[in-house]
Symmetry: C2
Subunit: 98 residues, 2 copies
Amino acid sequence: MQVTMVHVTVKPEAIQEFIAACRDNHEASIREPGNLRFDVLQDPTLPTHFVLYEAYVGVAEALAHKETTHYQVWRDTVAPMMAEPRRGIPMNGLFPES
Amino acid sequence: MQVTMVHVTVKPEAIQEFIAACRDNHEASIREPGNLRFDVLQDPTLPTHFVLYEAYVGVAEALAHKETTHYQVWRDTVAPMMAEPRRGIPMNGLFPES
């Protein structure tokens, strides 16, 4: 399992629009072949801080996500909402083993 | 969905023992009522750094995890392996919605 934890901090006025854009991305991404999780999380202590927890069966499937229309629409839609550049942290999934 | 991301950094000599202890914790935790994910992740850039991604249907179920024998065994087993205190970061899950 290949995981990316994407940390995003948005401008305060963009919180609701960002959540709406992430809903669309979530709904489409969980239908991708090889997707295992696409969780959208909000920090209760800092509501402008979000984490997208994206898990795929392998590196190829994780990379293929970036070729999808829904990813590219999300990326372009949320670009002006960012308070700072987002950070994607790749992690190797040990368990579950598949 | 109530998520906790637990960041752990272990001593280099404890990596394999820590993974074994996390396997046992993972196998038991995914059988808890209300557990949605119990992913064990290793940082490819820093193999002593792990993240446990623990998701439950609600706060009560997440708290109940700490009352289980398998959690308490894990906690006591890994305590001497820690290079620094672990950090649990709670997050609110927005999507999936249940």
